[in-house]
């Protein structure tokens, strides 16, 4: 029999799919690496994707170099927990310190879209107080910008993503969301029940970058789960789905599987100043190549960005590019993400529905009565069995037959998590190690220690989350110490002696070298950084576009805040996002 009964299964089409309904036809503009392009973006992730789209749309020649692949969501992604580890940055990294971070999983991404491919998509804004942590609480650092500078970009990105959530979000600067809230899954119900019993205000159904209604070429959420395994539906936003297709339409080039090894610099004589000329990278075949550019924007996230800058050390810049302050690689931050698990007599089925759908920021701000500065949030999480098994090993010491029994009970367990602000400390840092990766580029060693304030916050926050879990009716409550997100290490500031970049991401030392990703954040708040990173990228893009007419190599033409460009949003942002029919 040549063909199966009822005909052969359809082979995947020739199209390169991004989500279930959207395809790119594979034709991409190629600049070649002989000439000089306007902008070279290193890393096409959350920030890189937004920058690429903005700059291409504004008419610049722009090349994005990405170490991972340009995913075809229909072929490359699987709805399977173990099969999705390729979404993470799994290359060698060395971790250390008293409280070493787990690297390579939920705090990294590899491939176009970066971490936004596998984020849970919680998109709260930072609070106005987050920008003034040092002046208000005497700890951490102040941002060179304030909330009002970023607010229009928050609003813009919430429309571009678009964010689903309640029409009224009560904390920080109260605001509403363009798409309606999501219905609740089991973990959301736990958080709501627990918080309501304790009289804690709770925000339901978002804010989350998952569509509650169809938008453009993206269908709405079908609540199948597997959000953090890469949303094959295309309902969850990643810059791969929302911004990259528009960037390609407007002539951007993405060179995927290209690992940038160094940034090249032209010194002005023997002085300690210069301008970057481009980057050297290993292409997908492993050959070394160079791309010249008028400006380079590094968007590699908190580990790869400092690593690249440190690895690009050259005469005049012996400590690494843009490191005259010595702060490059320092002030690395992770958020405390203790997961609290509870066993319930009824079924919870936490694999269903998006893991991100209810939260409270009631404990976000500093409360002197608690005995520590800053605060934390409580959010839903929905670990799948492998993550759950790991948590149970740590939280309960489950092993062997006991582990089997716990795993048989998976559907009765629910999980909510702490998201606490760990302050920036200079000894939480990364530096180059002696080990090298497969390209021969030195890898990083990350050192991470908790300080007194962080420990107090984690202790208080963990107990509060466990209290919520018990109030929700859990029979047994256990918890696992864990960290989430990773920001800082190339922080922005107004003083070149204590920071790496200015408020727009321009390095203090080199006028045409920019950093735009989570690593520029001086403090992190207790909010997931995804939206802030994308908003900062849109702001940097407006700045680059405004400044490029004066030539970027000369340094800042004026320190004026550029006009926000609403016309550079992807299509469907302003056309009310009418879904395209198939």
């Amino acid at each position: 029999m040549k063909t199966p009964l009822f005909g052969a299964f359809g082979a995947p089409g020739p199209k390169h799919m991004l989500g279930a309904m959207q395809s790119i036809d594979g034709r991409m503009r190629k600049y070649g690496n002989q000439g000089e392009v306007d902008f070279c973006i290193v890393g096409v992730g959350s920030a890189g994707g937004v920058l690429l789209q903005r700059l291409a749309r504004a008419g610049f020649s722009v090349v994005g170099l990405e170490a991972g692949p340009l995913w075809d969501t229909e072929r490359d992604w699987v709805s399977d927990e173990a099969g999705s580890h390729k979404l993470y940055w799994n290359d060698l990294r060395i971790t250390g310190g008293e409280h070493p971070l787990t690297l390579g999983a939920n705090n990294s991404g590899k491939g176009v879209g970066g971490g936004s491919v596998h984020w849970a998509a919680f998109v709260p804004r930072l609070h106005p107080s987050d920008f003034r942590v040092y002046s208000e609480d005497g700890v951490g650092a102040d941002w060179p910008i304030c909330y009002e500078d970023l607010k229009p970009y928050y609003e813009l990105l919430e429309r571009e993503i678009p964010v689903s959530g309640p029409a009224y979000f009560p904390w920080g600067d109260p605001h509403g969301y363009p798409y309606g809230p999501h219905p609740m899954g089991g973990c959301g119900d736990i958080l709501i029940n627990g918080c309501t019993k304790l009289g804690i205000r709770v925000c339901i159904g978002g804010p989350v970058a998952i569509l509650a209604g169809s938008h453009g070429k993206r269908p709405h959420c079908i609540y199948r789960g597997y959000c953090i395994q890469g949303c094959k539906v295309g309902a969850k936003q990643s810059t791969l789905i929302s911004h990259v297709p528009n960037a390609l339409e407007h002539g951007a080039e993405i060179r995927d599987s290209c690992m940038v090894s160094r940034i090249n610099l032209a010194r002005n004589g023997s002085s300690k100043s210069g301008t970057v000329t481009g980057v050297t990278y290993f292409d997908s075949q492993g050959h070394e190549a160079e791309q010249k550019a008028k400006a380079v924007i590094v968007c590699g996230y908190a580990i790869e960005t400092p690593r690249l800058l440190l690895n690009s050390a050259c005469p005049g810049f012996e400590n690494g590019l843009a490191n005259s302050s010595g702060t490059l690689g320092k002030y690395l931050m992770a958020q405390a993400g203790n997961v609290v698990l509870g066993r319930f007599p009824e079924l919870i089925r936490m694999y269903k529905a998006p893991p991100a759908h209810a939260m409270t920021e009631e404990f976000y701000e500093t409360d002197t009565k608690r005995g520590f500065a800053r605060g934390f949030g409580i959010q839903t999480v929905g670990p799948l069995p492998i993550a759950f098994a790991r948590q149970m090993t740590i939280a309960k010491g489950a092993w062997g037959w006991g582990m089997r029994r716990v795993m048989m009970d998976y559907n009765h367990w629910g999980a909510i998590a702490l998201l606490g602000e760990i302050l920036p400390w200079p000894d939480n840092r990364l530096e180059l190690a002696a080990e090298k990766d497969k390209y021969g580029i030195p890898v990083t060693k990350v050192t991470f220690n908790l300080h007194d304030n962080d420990k107090k916050m984690i202790e208080y926050g963990k107990n509060k989350v466990m209290e919520v879990m018990s109030a929700a009716g859990a029979e047994e409550v256990v918890q696992e110490q864990r960290y989430a997100h990773l920001v800082g290490a190339a922080r922005m500031g107004s003083d070149p002696r204590t920071s790496v970049v200015d408020g727009f991401g321009r390095t203090h030392d080199i006028p045409n070298l920019f950093v735009c990703d989570g690593s520029v954040m001086p403090t992190q708040g207790s909010a997931n950084p995804g939206l802030t990173i994308q908003a900062l990228a849109a702001r940097t893009a407006d700045y680059l576009i405004a400044q490029s007419q004066f030539g970027l190599k000369k340094g800042a033409h004026s320190s004026e805040t550029p006009r926000i460009r609403y016309d550079l949003s992807p299509p469907d942002t302003w056309g009310k996002g009418v879904p395209h029919l198939k």
Partner: protein, 328 residues
Amino acid sequence: MKAHDKFGIVRSTIADIPVDAEHAAHEITVHIREGRFQRSLALIAGFTGGMSGLEVAYEHYKGSYSNAIMYTPVILSQALLIAGVSGAVSRRAARTILPTVSAITLVDCAIGFGFHIRGIQRKPGGWRLPVFNIIMGPPLFAPLLFGMSAYLGLIASFLRRESASRFARPGRVPLPTVSRLLPAKVQRDEIIELQEVREGRFQKHLALSTAFATFFSGFEALYSHYKNNFKYKIQWSPIIVAGLLIGASLGAIWKPKVAKRLLPTASALAIANGTIGFCYHARGITRRPGGTKRLLYNIIYGPPILAPLLFAGCGFLGLLASMFRRER
């Protein structure tokens, strides 16, 4: 140019309207005014009941008919449709089946309202998170809105038929059997009241009902449009019109002038708004992925297709109220 005829009814004297049409319009007005429109109201009650039954059917389908009582409004709505049609055909049916089915439906709606309150209470957080749980839980006032068609059916059963002579005495209202158990004085009052309904003298009563129905429908529009944060500005329109119509109906109880002027205007606005809203909702459904190819799915999960028509129905109720005579 407008003039009052000998019955005190405003009549158009614009020459363009064909005499027949003008005559027909006049006939209808007189019929309504004098409570001689049992057949048409029975039909209207039946069809609105049947229509809201469709909405109930798919909304409860969304809830998987997890409680057997969720079938009752679906069954009763079809019974109401049958009763309405038979009431239009037969005078006897209009006096027996129609009020019985309507009364049962009304009781069912009251029970349903209770269940919906309980449904919201049972959601995580219950009534301590009213905004979210009203938005995401069972539609709070939907059962009462469905009850409005049963209420129309009940009213219809007390009216006179269109064929009744306008000059003959209206005749005695047959008192419902249950009422015979009441004290004599209450029975007497009831007879007077029903007699007024029979003669089309229940403007204030119907205006009050309009206010209630509009409140139910407007409240549904408010929270379901709030759900997506009034993304389209037009989503505010039913809220504004509902406020206007509620104001006009309450004003109509207070002053005859409001009943004659403001109430019909507000009602016409509500009817227009509901009709336009229906088109928007239909467009919303076809714009969902799969569009008309996945029609049932998109009707169930898209904007509620019949909800704007129910809002227009409130406008119709107001219009009806404006045409009645006031209670003596």
